[in-house]
Symmetry: C2
Subunit: 495 residues, 2 copies
C-alpha cells in the first residue's frame, strides 16, 4: 500500500462529537422561516428556459406565472421531505466512501478558480497540470475526504473538453468521492457516464458515486444550465449540493435576516426540484453566503456578518433535517498571509460549530475564490486536521482525570516525568506540523521562515511523495477511450 494511502485510511470520514452552536432562539428561526415562505409566496423563484421544471412544479401544486414559480407557505418545505437526511457517497476505494449528513463531516478542496498561485511562480492562469496536482494533494492528505470538482479551471484545455479531463483526473489520480461537470446537461451526462465505467451501471443506479455543485443564480433564479444539470444528476440518483450564491447587497439585501431567509428559500426550491425529478435523490442543502465591501463592491470573507449568517443557516438547515453545506477556508487575501488565515480560521470555526456536513472550499482558497494557492492549500489542510481534532470533543474518563499523576507529582512538582504524562503524551495533543513552535533561536537558525515559506516546501514534498492509487487497467482503458472519442467528436471551443 502506498504511503499516502495509509495516511488517508487512518483518518476516514470524521464525525462531529461536539454540540452545534445555537445562535438564534426558536422565535428567531420561526421569523426567518416565515420570511422564506413569504418570499416564495409573494416574490417567487424563476426557472428560466426550463419548461419541464415549470411543469413539474405546476403538477406539484405550485403556482406558475410565466417562468416564475410561487409556493403556498410550507409547500417547498414539504417537497423537500423525500430527500434523505443522510447518505453514502462512494469513493472508488471503499475506504474513502463517506457518509454525508447527521454528525458526519466531509471536507473538499476549493472549487472554481481560474487562477493559481505559488511563491515561486506567482499568480497565473491554472492549467490541467495544476488541476492534477491538486487532485493529488487532496488524495494525499487525510484531512480532505472528497476530491472536489473544478478544483481549478484547466484553462489550457478547451472549455467544451475540460470536464472530460477533470473527471478522468479525479477517477484516475484519486479514489475519493468527487464532483462532475454542471456547465451543460451534456457535460453532466458525460460525467455520470464516466462514473458508470468505473462503478458499473447497476451500482450507480442505486448508489451515489458522483456529485455536482448547483449554484443558484441568486437572487431567486435558476437558469436552464443549472436546473438541467440538477435534473440530470437527480434522475441518475446522484447527489447535488444546491448552493444559493448570495453576496449581501448584490444578490440579496444587505441585511442578514433577509439574506438568510432568501438562501433558505432558494435552497428549498432547488431541493424540491431534485425530488420532483427523482424522489429520494441525495441532496445537500448548500449556500455561499457572504458580505460585500460596499465601497469597492468586492466580496468579503470571514467577516462578523458572514460568521453570524453561518451559525444561523445551520439552524435553519437542521429544521429541515437535511445535510448542510457551509463554510470554507474563505478569504479575500491575495496571498497566504495573516489576513488569509485570520479570515479562513474565523469562517471555518463557524462552519464547524454551525454543524456543516459538507465543506466545499476547505483548502486552497484565495482572492475571493478567483485563485487557488499551493501554499494556502497545505496550510488549510493542516488547519483542517486541527478542526477535526476539535470536533472530537473533550472526553472525561479515569485516565484523563489523571488522579495517579497528582499522587506522583503534587504541588510545585512538574508533571513532565510522571507515568501518566509518559503514557499519554503521544496521543494527548493533535500533531499539527506546519505551525512553528520552536524557540526564536531555533526558528532563526532554521532560516526564520514564515508559515507561507514553510508551506512552499511542504506541498512540493507531498507531490514528490505522491504515489498513484492502483486502477484496473481495463477500466482505465475504457475511461481513456471515452475521453478520446468524446474529444474527437467535438471541435475545440474556447468560450
Amino acid at each position: 500500500m502506498a504511503k499516502n494511502e495509509q495516511v488517508a485510511e487512518a483518518a476516514g470520514n470524521p464525525r462531529r462529537r461536539i454540540p452545534t452552536y445555537e445562535l438564534l432562539d426558536e422565535d428567531g428561526l420561526d421569523a426567518l422561516e416565515r420570511h422564506a415562505d413569504w418570499i416564495l409566496e409573494k416574490v417567487g423563484v424563476e426557472f428560466r428556459g426550463d419548461a419541464e421544471a415549470l411543469g413539474l412544479f405546476r403538477s406539484a401544486g405550485a403556482s406558475v406565472d410565466g417562468e416564475c414559480v410561487r409556493f403556498e407557505p410550507g409547500l417547498a418545505r414539504h417537497l423537500c421531505s423525500t430527500a434523505p437526511s443522510e447518505f453514502r457517497m462512494h469513493g472508488r476505494d471503499p475506504r474513502h466512501t463517506a457518509t454525508i449528513g447527521g454528525d458526519h463531516v466531509v471536507f473538499s478542496p476549493t472549487y472554481g478558480p481560474p487562477f493559481v498561485t505559488d511563491l515561486d511562480r506567482g499568480r497565473r492562469y491554472a492549467s490541467l497540470e495544476d488541476f492534477e496536482n491538486f487532485v493529488k494533494l487532496t488524495y494525499a492528505t487525510p484531512w480532505l475526504h472528497h476530491s472536489g470538482g473544478t478544483i481549478c479551471e484547466p484553462v489550457d484545455v478547451p472549455v467544451n473538453k475540460r470536464h472530460l479531463d477533470m473527471v478522468y483526473a479525479h477517477l484516475r489520480w484519486s479514489t475519493k468521492p468527487f464532483m462532475g461537470s454542471v456547465t451543460s446537461p451534456d457535460r453532466a451526462e458525460d460525467s455520470i457516464e464516466m462514473a458508470r465505467l468505473v462503478f458499473g451501471s447497476d451500482f450507480l443506479e442505486h448508489n451515489c458515486v458522483i456529485q455536482a455543485n448547483i449554484n443558484v443564480n441568486s437572487p431567486l433564479v435558476f437558469d436552464d444550465v443549472m436546473s438541467g444539470a440538477l435534473k440530470a444528476y437527480a434522475r441518475a440518483n446522484q447527489g447535488c449540493v444546491i448552493s444559493p450564491f448570495i453576496v449581501g447587497g448584490a444578490m440579496g439585501p444587505v441585511t442578514l435576516s433577509a439574506l438568510l431567509a432568501q438562501a433558505h428559500a432558494e435552497a428549498m426550491v432547488g431541493i424540491a426540484l431534485s425530488q420532483l425529478a427523482r424522489p429520494g435523490s441525495p441532496m445537500v442543502y448548500g449556500n455561499f453566503l457572504t458580505t460585500m465591501d460596499l465601497r469597492s463592491g468586492a466580496p468579503t470573507f470571514g467577516t462578523p456578518e458572514a460568521v453570524l449568517a453561518t451559525y444561523a443557516i445551520g439552524q435553519l438547515c437542521r429544521r429541515l433535517g437535511l445535510p448542510l453545506r457551509c463554510g470554507g477556508h474563505y478569504t479575500a487575501s491575495k496571498t497566504a498571509d495573516a489576513q488569509a488565515m485570520q479570515e479562513s480560521a474565523d469562517a471555518m470555526a463557524a462552519a464547524v460549530l454551525a454543524g456543516a456536513n459538507f465543506v466545499h472550499q476547505a483548502a486552497g482558497w484565495l482572492e475571493g475564490g478567483l485563485t487557488i494557492g499551493y501554499e494556502k492549500f497545505v496550510m488549510d489542510a493542516d488547519h483542517l486536521g486541527m478542526l477535526q481534532r476539535t470536533m472530537q470533543g473533550l472526553g472525561i474518563d479515569e485516565n484523563s482525570l489523571a488522579a495517579e499523576a497528582y499522587r506522583e507529582a503534587g504541588p510545585g512538582i512538574t508533571f513532565l516525568g510522571t507515568a501518566h504524562t509518559l503514557a499519554n503524551f503521544e496521543t494527548a495533543n493533535h500533531p499539527s506540523t506546519l505551525p512553528d513552535t520552536n524557540s526564536f533561536e531555533q526558528w532563526t537558525e532554521d532560516g526564520g521562515l514564515d508559515m507561507q515559506q514553510r508551506a512552499n516546501a511542504r506541498w512540493k514534498q507531498v507531490l514528490a511523495d505522491y504515489e498513484p492509487p492502483a486502477i484496473d487497467p481495463s477500466v482505465d482503458a475504457d475511461l481513456r477511450s471515452f475521453v478520446a472519442e468524446k474529444k474527437a467528436s467535438m471541435d475545440d471551443a474556447w468560450y
Copy 2:
C-alpha cells in the same frame, strides 16, 4: 476633544449579546467539579512563606498541614461566594469605566513580554519607550477597553523601579482602567498609592480603580510574592485576576480533564484567599491554560485542545457565577504571519463563545508571550473590532427582513441600487480596515503588500495621530513627585 478620544468613546465596553457555547453537558461539568474537589481535599494547595494566608485558611475551616492547605469538598467554592459576580472598573476618564462580569466584555493588551518586534527593527529587548507606545496605541483603539499592566517589560529601567514608570504611563498617557505591579507587596502598595493620588483615597476605598494579575505558581502553589500582592490589592478593595498558569504536561497533567479540574481548583483557592482578606473584593476567575509541543517542550497556542479547554473553563466559571478571564490573541509564531493569525483567531473565537468577560493578551502577543509585536498589535486590535461586531449578534426586525427590497428588486435583479441597500449599506457591515478586499490588480498597484506590511504603516500612523488626554497639572505633579521620591530612595536593582 482629541480625535482618538472620540473614537474611543464611541465604542465603550461592549456586551456579548450572543449565547455562550456549551461544550460539556451537566454530567461532564459535575465530574470536573468533583475532581477539583478531590484535588483540593486529597492533594491540596501550598502557600509558601505566607503564614498569614495559612492562618486565614485555618480559621475558615481548611486543614493546614505545614504549608499545604486542604479543603473539604465544597469549602473552597463556598469561600468564593462573597466575591461579586459583576463590578465596575473605573478609568481616569469616566467614559472608560468598564463593567466586568455578566455579559460585559473587556479586552486588554499583551502582558509580560521582555521582547518587542517590528518589521523595521526586528526583535529586541523592550524599552520604556516601547511600553509608552503600547499604552498610547491601546488608548487610541476603540477595541481595547483596558490599558493592561506590564504590556512589555521596560528592560532599560531597573527592575525595582519599573513599576513606577509603568503605572505613571498608564495614568498619564491613557484614561482607561489599568493594572499595577505584583512583583512584590511593596510594589503593589506603590501602585495602589499612585492610583490614590489620581482617584482620591475615599473613592479608591469604595471603588475598583486598579487591578493586578496574580499568576498561580501552578501546579497547586502560591508563593508569598503572589499571595502577598493578592492580599494587598484585596485589602484595598481593588481587583485581581487570579490566573492558574498551566501548560499541560508540565504544570499539570497532559490530559484536558485534569487540567480543567486543576485550573478550577487553583482559581477557587485564590479567590477564596481574596475573600478572606476582604470579603466582597472584586475578583476575576482567570486562567492561562494551554498545550505543549511535547517534542520540543514549547507551549503551543490556538490548538484544538486549548480551544476545547477554553469552552469548558467558561462553563465551570459560570457555575461559580464569577467574572471570567480567558483567551487572548495567542500564538507561538515569531512573526505576524499566517500562523500567528490562524492561532490567534482560533483562540479568540473560543474565548468569545466561552463567555470571557476579561481578555488579557488580546493585542500584540507573539512567540508564546515572549514578544509583543507592533504589527501584530494593530492586526489584533482590528480583529477585536470584528469579534465585537460578532458579539452583537443577529437582530431580526422589519428593516433587516427587507420585504420592500424584494418588491423593488425581485428575481434576477441586483439589490445594489435598492432603497433598502442605500439606506443600510453604511451600517450593515462592520468596517474592518486592515484586511485588503481590493481586486488583485488594485492590490498589486498598491504595492502588493501583505497584512503585516500594511500593519506596519498603520501603527506608525496611529502613534503619529496620538494626542495625550488632559490631566490636572497638580495631579500630574503629585504623580511625578511620588515616582521621583521613590526612585531616589532606592539603589538600582537589575535582577
